[in-house]
Symmetry: C2
DNA sequence: CGCTACAGTTGATCTGGATCAAGGCAGTCT
DNA sequence: AGACTGCCTTGATCCAGATCAACTGTAGCG
């Protein structure tokens, strides 16, 4: 719940809000103002960030780590509705109450802005509000693509889609790898995957085992995944060859 | 594909973009500019508006009628990812290609803005880009709420959720009705409902019959629905009493 | 009028994924 | 060490919803 660890202006590298504020028109004033209302928060893996319905008096950008957005029904059924990776935005200007549960999946650092001044900034700066609009539109597209996964894909296709997304996101961050052979560490437990995909954890486990048996993926331990032929994985997603599934 | 039918400045009553442009700061210039780039388009029920991947050189606001946003897999499985009712926004500033299929479900009239000048306007007017941001955030929340429906709810809960949403939306438009007893015309075929809910049309039909048999809904013909006790319907959605499902 | 077409209902059967249950395999605490 | 806990796998069985198929009702239309 503390730990700044970032002091220099330039080190919050993944924060898209700030980047744009710097680059777009060199609006120095805005940048300096942003600096005055920003602060860092850290959470340990597993810790909740907020619960749906609770007061949330900041908006933030993920700097390090992964967080999940989930919804839960009274009887405990839960659905993950978003996965927040570094550079993703969290919170909602104009709303003081969280709509979803936010949980740190790995150790997590957020770059936070107090909500009120941030909203003020939005009102006065078209640069920032446009950047935010763009990001929100991307998230909306991603959410809608995910609706196809949830509503119409088989368990096997769901797993393949999820692995493809994580592999792609991973490739963006570490562009060293060939597109054909990728390896990464699954940031999610089987249960979290199940919650994302609308399945049970048993089904997730079985489908991963099946993909392994068929040589479409290789595992080292439970979490480290190697995809020998990305095209073969893609063929299992049910998407047409080029299609672009985000997360 | 023509039919203006709107000539007076004030008559595009449902268009949220324009409203805000008038109200927020009385930015007369912007309003007049908006007028010069706006035009109307009409579509008959069943007609496509655009296909995913096609060029889309306007953004628009639904004035009259209903449109659907859908995705289709090569083998024909389709998922509806959004339902556009009057006042909803269509299109994506900053992107010239449609991400989803848009189809007129009923006869439809759009209030369109040519994309390029609209984007220009966004860049210069914080009022409009903020209004758009707000709308997009609402849509994102709605999409995420829908992910819970698709991923975790039973067929019966899905149907009840859909009926509840349509009833609520309907009550907003016609505030004359008591909240307890509502009646409306289903704007969707059984197949369209199935595509929205990630079910088959047979299952939709069976579940509606079941709700009818239990007196939770009453039907006149196939489309006209009466909900004698909204609370009882809500109890079938699986949501906690107050929860706010949008569309 | 009969013919076709479309939307919806209902029944019979099948099956993919859920559910229930039993272990396995690290870590980590004592 | 042993015991406990969290995460994962695998097997056996069940069932909600898909699939296949027949049929009803209603609206155009030559």
């Amino acid at each position: 719940m503390n730990a700044p660890a970032f002091t220099d202006n330039r080190d919050c590298g993944t924060c898209p809000i700030r980047h744009r504020a710097v680059c777009a028109r060199c609006e120095k004033e805005e940048l300096e103002y942003l600096e005055t209302i920003k602060y860092y928060r850290s959470y340990e893996a597993g810790q909740p960030v907020v619960w749906a319905g609770d007061q949330l008096d900041f908006v933030a950008s993920v700097v390090v780590g992964i967080a999940s957005l989930t919804q839960t029904m009274e009887d405990g059924r839960t659905q993950m509705v978003g996965l927040l990776l570094p550079s993703d935005f969290l919170g909602r200007p104009g709303r003081s109450v969280a709509s979803f549960n936010v949980t740190a999946i790995s150790d997590l650092t957020l770059c936070c802005f107090r909500r009120k001044p941030f909203e003020q900034l939005l009102r006065s700066s078209p640069t920032i509000s446009q950047r935010l609009l763009e990001m929100t539109l991307d998230e909306l597209d991603a959410a809608r693509e995910w609706m196809l996964v949830l509503g119409r894909k088989t368990a096997r296709e769901k797993i393949a889609s999820l692995l493809a997304i994580i592999a792609r996101r991973n490739a963006q961050l570490h562009p060293g790898q060939t597109p054909e052979e990728t390896t990464f560490i699954l940031p999610l437990t089987r249960e979290a995957m199940a919650d994302y995909l609308g399945l049970t954890l048993e089904t997730v486990s079985r489908q991963i085992s099946a993909l392994k048996k068929e040589g479409i993926v290789e595992l080292e331990g439970n979490r480290r995944i190697l995809i020998p032929d990305f095209g073969r994985l893609l063929a299992e997603t049910g998407d047409d060859a080029d299609g672009g599934m985000p997360a």
